[in-house]
């Protein structure tokens, strides 16, 4: 432990100290756009890039990229998913060596890495021109006046994947339309089949935030400078928490941590009869629960107000370039190319089942019209494309989401796991995040 060291460039700190001014300064002092010739030279010179990502099967896109740029070699590394990935990226950045060139970056983490000045502004490398190609709200997550910080890859509008056979066994023939229906179904499923209708993950802040998002909560806000808004313990959130409290108290839902062995088993063996998940979930599930192919169906999330359907977003990612890269031109090209090349992106959408952010792919019949055997031939993509339209796009993040998510399992998540007092957990989560924000020098707005 004594050898734990860290080098942080003072300049980076100064930048974050005067974020607003410094960001403006950054963009004005940013590298000038390379000329066409420079770009061509950089892309034809023998180069090795390192890409850290956890997209399954991304080897295919990387191979296409290497075919297009034969002199560039891409080292593909999967250092973990979610929190683990970000911790390793941070560690490499703090250490000053071993950082990759291009990294997988979920939207909610972009501001966390911008506040430490770790991302390369991609606007000098032609990223601005891509704006019209992407879904507007997704573009808003990666770019602002100061720069373009990542290239969107996929989004995660949330829906409901459920076991049609288990629900039918409990006498339910259609997906629950409202959360009230969902509670009634949970009771029936538990009584008739012994399964839990769903699992409310006790460790996953992201999924829970998605549910808050759907309910119209605005837990986070950041003005890009020194002021954050932390409104986790709001009436909207309390409504969500109270709803789950009731199901948990009656033992109608499971409360296991997700992405663990227990949880994979639960999905595969019918312990959980549904999964409220994002648009990247369908493919993930078909790999995890392959034996149950054909038994699953997809539906929108149960609604609070059936007349005004809403959904939230969970995850979805982009590729960002780390500003310590020695090959900014090639790295920026890799991030852009994988997420805009027609062949690569269509493959992402139809083969890897990543929900596209590119307008052209969303409209492509090869994507929207795809019928999936795992879901009994349902056009799952078209369904999620519809859901995507119902997402409230005014959702913001805090510039330290890694802390927010690690605080979740110790506060609200712990209460969920212990089947305890969720309201108290929600308050504890709020308090922990406020305390952290203050300790980091942020001003917390009321």
């Amino acid at each position: 432990m004594f050898t734990r060291t860290r080098t942080r460039r003072r300049t980076a700190v100064v930048v974050s100290a005067f974020a607003a001014i410094a960001l403006a300064a950054c963009s004005s002092t940013a590298v000038e756009a390379p000329s066409e010739e420079e770009t061509e030279d950089a892309l034809s010179a023998p180069t090795t890039l390192t890409l850290w990502t956890w997209v399954p099967g991304i080897e295919a896109q990387v191979a296409l990229f290497e075919e297009a740029y034969p002199n560039i070699t891409v080292n593909l590394e999967n250092v973990g998913q979610g929190g683990e990935h970000y911790t390793k990226v941070r560690t490499a950045l703090e250490a000053g060596t071993g950082a990759p060139d291009v990294i997988h970056m979920e939207y909610q983490f972009i501001s966390s890495f911008r506040v430490t000045d770790s991302l390369l502004d991609l606007s000098p490398y032609g990223a601005r021109d891509l704006e019209p190609d992407f879904t507007p709200w997704v573009w808003g997550q990666v770019a602002d006046d100061a720069g373009v910080w990542a290239i969107p890859m996929d989004a995660g509008p949330m829906g409901n994947l459920y076991r049609e056979d288990i629900l039918a066994e409990a006498g339910i023939t259609a997906a629950p339309e409202t959360w009230d229906d969902f509670a009634a179904a949970a009771e029936a499923v538990r009584e008739q089949t012994g399964s839990y209708l769903t699992n409310l993950p006790s460790n996953e802040g992201g999924a829970f935030v998605g549910l808050l998002w759907q309910a119209g909560a605005k837990p986070f806000g950041y003005d890009g400078a020194e002021t954050v808004t932390i409104n986790i313990d709001s009436p909207e959130s309390q409504q969500v928490v109270d709803y789950w409290q009731d199901l948990i108290d009656r033992d109608l839902v499971a409360v296991d941590p997700n992405f663990t062995d227990t949880w994979y088993q639960g999905l595969a063996n019918g312990t959980y009869a549904s999964w409220q998940t994002a648009a990247w979930g369908p493919l993930f599930l078909s790999g995890t629960a392959a034996d149950t192919s054909g038994l699953w169906r997809a539906a929108p999330l149960p609604q609070w107000d059936a007349a005004n359907p809403a959904s939230g977003n969970w995850g979805g990612s982009s590729y960002a370039v780390v500003n310590t890269t020695e090959n900014p031109i090639a790295a920026a090209e890799l991030a852009k190319w994988i997420n805009t090349d027609p062949e690569s992106t269509l493959l992402l959408a139809t083969d890897q089942f990543l929900f596209p952010t590119l307008q052209s792919v969303l409209a492509d019949d090869a994507f929207a019209g795809q019928e999936l055997e795992f879901y009994g031939g349902q056009q799952v993509n078209a369904l999620f494309a519809e859901i995507s339209e119902t997402i409230d796009t005014e959702f913001e993040w805090l510039p330290f989401m890694d802390f927010v998510y690690t605080a979740f399992p110790e506060t609200l998540g712990a209460e969920i796991a212990d089947r305890g007092d969720l309201r108290a957990g929600l308050t504890a989560w709020q308090d922990a995040v406020v305390e952290y924000a203050l300790s980091q020098g942020f001003t917390v707005a009321d």
Binding site: F2, E226, A414
Partner: protein, 316 residues
């Protein structure tokens, strides 16, 4: 280990002859001596003194996302002394130490004595078998045990359910520490056993013969000759174990994935420091925690050493 070595090398350095007239033969010896310790001193400075100094230095600062770096003196230490999460972690590893270390060292001693008695058939094979867990990387061991403990699919649960008994949740908040003690014991019994066994082999066998002639049985020999003779080895394993307990990190860090709500970010002081530095972006406070932990380890190790020396003197 390092501390012991340094102590010795410093003493050697101090004992080297004063700067008087030195004969050429003596001089070449001196040069050789210094040349031989230089690699160690260099590595010692680069890998211990410098990082330690650096950690001490940064623990005096505060580095905030907004507001940047500022000198705060001992504020981080003050905060750590009042930090309940740090206390909880320390309490947990102290409990771990008090329960797990005696069990582990007792087992290791028992096995070492059994193997040394020469009455075990296939002693060589059993020695190797007991030592093998130490050769399994801690990461692999923890993942393996995580599977064995698993609530739905683990072998323990499956066996118990098959015979109709209720299966305990070995990864719940009240059982986790015990489950961890079991992993660490499994891993390190063999290692400690080898140290003790090697010490036992060094005891001159004449002593045993003499004792046998005096009518002592194996148990009496073990108690009155063997154990006192290998006391330094036992002390060594005890100090290693004290340090190991306080430094507990791999096991909680890996079990976090299986039971995130139980472990949390501050289960042990080391895990806490790690999370502070790399999740909370607070390397300065993490350095202060690490320093305090180091201090606690030094004090406890010293107390253990002192206590056993006193016991040894009293025994004579």
């Amino acid at each position: 280990m390092t501390a012991l070595h340094t102590g010795r090398s410093r003493r050697q350095a101090a004992a080297s002859p004063r700067r008087r007239r030195v004969s050429p033969a003596r001089r070449s010896q001196l040069i050789a001596a210094y040349a031989l310790i230089t690699p160690f001193i260099l590595v010692f400075i680069a890998m211990l003194v410098l990082p330690l100094t650096y950690a001490g230095w940064i623990s005096l600062f505060q580095d905030r996302l907004i507001g940047g770096v500022s000198f705060v003196g001992l504020e981080n230490f003050e905060r750590a002394i009042r930090d309940e999460r740090f206390h909880e972690g320390l309490g947990r590893v102290a409990l771990f130490l008090v329960i797990q270390v005696p069990i582990m060292l007792g087992l290791a001693l028992f096995v070492a004595l059994a193997l040394d008695s020469g009455r075990v058939r296939g002693a060589r094979t059993s020695r190797l078998a007991i030592f093998i867990p130490y050769a399994v990387p801690g990461v692999v061991a923890t993942l393996m045990w995580g599977y064995i403990y698993g609530r739905d699919f683990g072998p323990i649960t499956q066996v118990l359910t098959a015979v109709g008994l209720p299966a305990p949740d070995l990864l719940a908040s009240n059982t986790m520490l015990g489950s961890m003690m079991n992993i660490v014991t499994w891993e390190f019994v063999g290692y400690n056993m080898i140290i003790m066994f090697a010490a036992l082999r060094a005891i001159p066998t004449e002593l045993y013969e003499a004792a046998e002639i005096d009518g002592a049985g194996q148990i009496r020999i073990a108690w009155s000759i063997k154990i006192p003779a290998i006391r330094p080895a036992i002390l060594l394993t005890a100090i290693f174990s004290v340090i190991g307990s306080f430094q507990l990190f791999n096991e909680p860090s890996l079990l976090y994935r299986i039971a995130p709500n139980v472990i949390g970010t501050a289960y042990t002081p080391n895990l806490y420091a790690y999370n502070l530095a790399f999740v909370n972006q607070d390397a300065n406070y993490a350095a202060a925690i690490a320093f305090l932990l180091g201090l606690v380890i030094m004090v406890v190790s010293y107390v253990v050493q002192l206590g056993s020396q006193r016991a040894m003197r009293g025994g004579r």
